[in-house]
């Protein structure tokens, strides 16, 4: 009886500790978001004076001003377009490449794979100037296509690595069964490998969507035309060298964060699967 009580108390104690820890992590993650929304409803003056999370007066006009002054309308559509195009491009190319690296044996396949992996080590700012010169020579500078191709290239290495690891662990028997049913190699990739890889694909989608959505330096370098710029560039209009218009910046950030939060919510189920049981397939 005593032992049962001891184990029960111990279990409750451990649970309380775990929940306290998780609660503190959750608060740490949520607090900046709450602060961002709260600051977006204050004035420049009250941001520095009123530190409470609930503003004394709500300035919803900051959202309107941020949208209009930042020219968010066009930039917002651009960001959605770039993010979707790049993510689709990455999924198609990386899943095909990862499947080929995992299943096809050809001379130099390992070397090629390691070369792809080595590309992960090169920080993108280090390649800005060569990229600019290359795009200039190809007449792709200041074009949406040039930017999309660059961003697909940026996301490929990690995505190939993630998907190849998954395909390596996928039982070959599944493919044999599909082959007996008359599936071609491409058919197996489409009908067997891709549906099974949904959790990993969700991770690839999230990582790359976040990466493209938040990118602005390359866009700023490649584009000269304002109508081609993504949303993040519009945000920088509120950030001066010495002075930052915090209420408008925070309102802009809130607008910018919404779509990515939506993607997270839609893909939440797959992401958890991808992180926890990515290796369990078939």
């Amino acid at each position: 009886m005593k032992t049962t009580l001891y184990y029960k108390t111990k279990k409750i104690g451990i649970n309380i500790l775990i929940h306290l820890f998780l609660l503190s992590v959750a608060i740490t993650c949520i607090f900046p978001l709450v602060w961002m929304v709260s600051s977006s409803l204050k004035t420049q003056e009250t941001i520095f004076r009123d530190t409470s999370l609930i503003p004394k007066s709500f300035h919803f006009e900051n959202y309107y001003l941020a949208w209009m002054e930042g020219g968010f309308g066009r930039n917002f559509l651009n960001s959605i377009f770039y993010t979707t195009s790049v993510v689709i491009g990455i999924i198609i190319v990386s899943s095909l490449a990862a499947y080929a690296f995992s299943r096809l044996r050809f001379p130099g396949s390992n070397l090629l794979f390691f070369m792809f992996m080595a590309a992960m080590m090169i920080p993108i700012p280090g390649s800005f100037v060569p990229l600019y010169v290359l795009l200039n020579k190809l007449h792709l500078r200041n074009t949406a296509l040039g930017y999309i191709l660059c961003m697909i290239n940026v996301g490929l290495s990690t995505s190939i690595f993630l998907l190849k690891t998954f395909f390596d662990k996928m039982p070959k028997e599944l493919e044999d069964a599909a082959r007996i049913d008359g599936c071609s190699k491409l058919g197996i990739w489409w009908h067997v490998a891709l549906p099974l890889a949904k959790p990993v694909l969700a991770v690839v989608v999230i990582f790359n969507a976040l990466n493209v959505w938040n990118e602005y330096v390359l866009a700023l370098i490649i584009f000269d035309s304002k109508p081609l710029m993504p949303l993040q560039v519009a945000l920088t209009t509120f950030q001066g060298e010495f002075i930052t218009r915090y209420p408008l910046l925070m309102a802009g950030l809130t607008i910018t964060a919404l779509p990515i939060i939506l993607v997270y919510l839609l893909m939440q189920k797959y992401i958890v699967k991808g992180v926890t049981q990515g290796a369990v397939v078939g």
């Binding site: 420049q44 003056e45 520095f48 004076r49 559509l77 651009n78 959605i80 377009f81 979707t84 195009s85 700012p125 800005f128 100037v129 600019y132 010169v133 200039n136 007449h139 500078r141 200041n142 074009t143 949406a144 296509l145 602005y216 330096v217 700023l220 370098i221 000269d224 035309s225 304002k226 109508p227 081609l228 920088t236 209009t237 509120f238 950030q239 001066g240 060298e241 010495f242 002075i243 218009r245």
Partner: protein, 434 residues
């Protein structure tokens, strides 16, 4: 779920076609006669207004294109220089070394002949020290052909500020700021007594410590001796340098320095001063705009740091804030120069100053700007800047110097110890150079 995915697909497809129209290179510069690339977000509306005024006056369209933040702008300008896509007018950010590399690569037009036209009419409009930042003197270490290569559009000085209301609260006359270092120490004692915060500044971003220390080094030993030290002819263990280091100990002991100053970033310092939580600040003229945004009612004034010695004049850091350069390979370079001449005229400079709360580069505009800005502009008479000294200190020495001062403030080291350590690094760097 399928209908949802289909509708997303349809929406994206339509978006794709909308965006394809944007895929073709859009040369926004096509309709504009002159294209200017800049990084100054806060000046964008004023530039657009000036562009309209110029178009109304001359019929020439000037297209100001903003690329911020400054780091990304710098990358863009570098990449554009490599690709031969620089606009008609642009700015080069960074150190003078970067500026010189653009000049040597033939990207920047030499403006000396234009400046010296009609009895140097254009040149004489500027504060001489503002122009000096854009000038390469004969026998410069960068091996650039001597001349003027940039046009300052505004200037800046870094000075000491005091909160008049808090000054009064301490029992001092707000119209009579401290004139000597001794008075500063007395005020420090009073600040300590009243449990208030003294000087705030961005000394966590160490270059501001360097700036403050250099002000006093110039006052104690004069420019020649400071430059001789950089050349390696005078050691940092010289009594004058030890005196400079000792000033920080005295300031700390008196209670003049605010708590946590050594790790304070300038944004925090600005916030504290703007909210009446610190009596003094050490900040650049850009702060006028910052304080206006944070607390429009802030009652403050700018002064030169009170001097320690009357042997040499007090010097402060100042010079060109932002400058524009003309692309030497541009077809519109003559028009670009004409536009810059117009932009730096007294009226346009006064407009820019009022709209952006920056100091005008044109000295004739000073009478037309707010008092506090005019006070900062007066400091130009005492201004100097490392970029016009013609020589520069080794980075490891600057680092040891600034960090040494931080350790004096927190009581970790004595001024003599820091002087010896800095000198040791200086000797090491000199030996490497030899």
């Amino acid at each position: 779920m399928k209908w949802f995915l289909r509708s997303i697909g349809l929406a994206l497809l339509s978006l794709f076609f909308i965006n394809l129209s944007g895929c073709a290179p859009q040369t926004s510069g096509k309709t504009a006669n002159i294209t200017v690339w800049h990084w100054m977000t806060d000046r964008e509306p004023a530039f657009q207004e000036l562009s309209k005024r110029y178009a109304a006056k001359t019929g020439m369209k000037v297209n100001f294109e903003l690329y911020a933040p400054s780091d990304a702008y710098t990358q863009k300008v570098r990449a554009a220089a490599q690709g031969g896509n620089l606009p008609d007018i642009f700015g080069v950010l960074g150190e003078k070394r970067d500026f010189s590399s653009f000049v040597k690569a033939g990207h920047i037009l030499e403006l000396t002949p234009y400046m010296e036209e009609e009895g140097s009419a254009w040149k004489n409009k500027f504060f001489p020290k503002a122009l000096a930042v854009n000038e390469f003197i004969p026998e410069n270490t960068y091996t650039v052909k001597p001349g003027i290569y940039g046009v300052p559009i505004d200037i800046m000085t870094i000075q000491m500020l005091y909160n008049k209301d808090l000054f009064k609260e301490l029992g001092f006359n707000p119209q009579k700021p401290p004139a000597t270092f001794g008075e500063l120490l007395d005020i420090g004692k009073k600040i300590k007594e009243k449990n208030m915060q003294g000087l705030v500044s961005g000394w966590g971003e160490v270059w501001m410590i360097d700036c403050f220390a250099n002000n006093y080094a110039f006052n104690i030993m004069g420019q020649d001796k400071v430059l001789a030290t950089i050349k390696g002819e005078v050691p940092y263990t010289d009594p004058d340098w030890v005196k400079v280091f000792t000033l920080f100990k005295e300031l700390q002991d008196s209670g003049f320095l605010a708590n946590g100053l050594v790790t304070m970033v300038n944004k925090t310092a600005e916030q504290l001063f703007a909210n009446d939580k610190a009596v003094f600040a050490f900040n650049g003229s850009w702060c006028v705009n910052v304080y206006k945004g944070m607390n429009p009612k802030l009652n403050y004034w700018a002064i030169l740091p009170p001097q320690v010695s009357d042997k040499f004049p007090m010097s402060i850091w100042g010079g060109a804030g932002s400058s524009f350069m003309v692309n030497a390979r541009s077809k519109n370079k003559e028009e670009a120069v004409k536009f810059l001449k117009w932009l730096t005229d007294a009226d346009q400079q006064a407009f820019l100053s009022e709209a952006t709360q920056n100091l005008p580069a044109n000295k004739d505009s000073v009478g037309k700007i707010p008092h506090i800005l005019a006070q900062f502009a007066k400091g130009m008479d005492f201004a100097t800047h490392p970029s016009i000294w013609g020589i520069s200190e080794f980075s490891p020495v600057i680092e040891a110097f600034d960090k040494g001062i931080q350790s004096i403030i927190i009581g970790e080291k004595t001024p003599e110890q820091v002087a010896q350590e800095v000198q040791k690094i200086k000797e090491r760097e000199l030996a490497k150079k030899r």
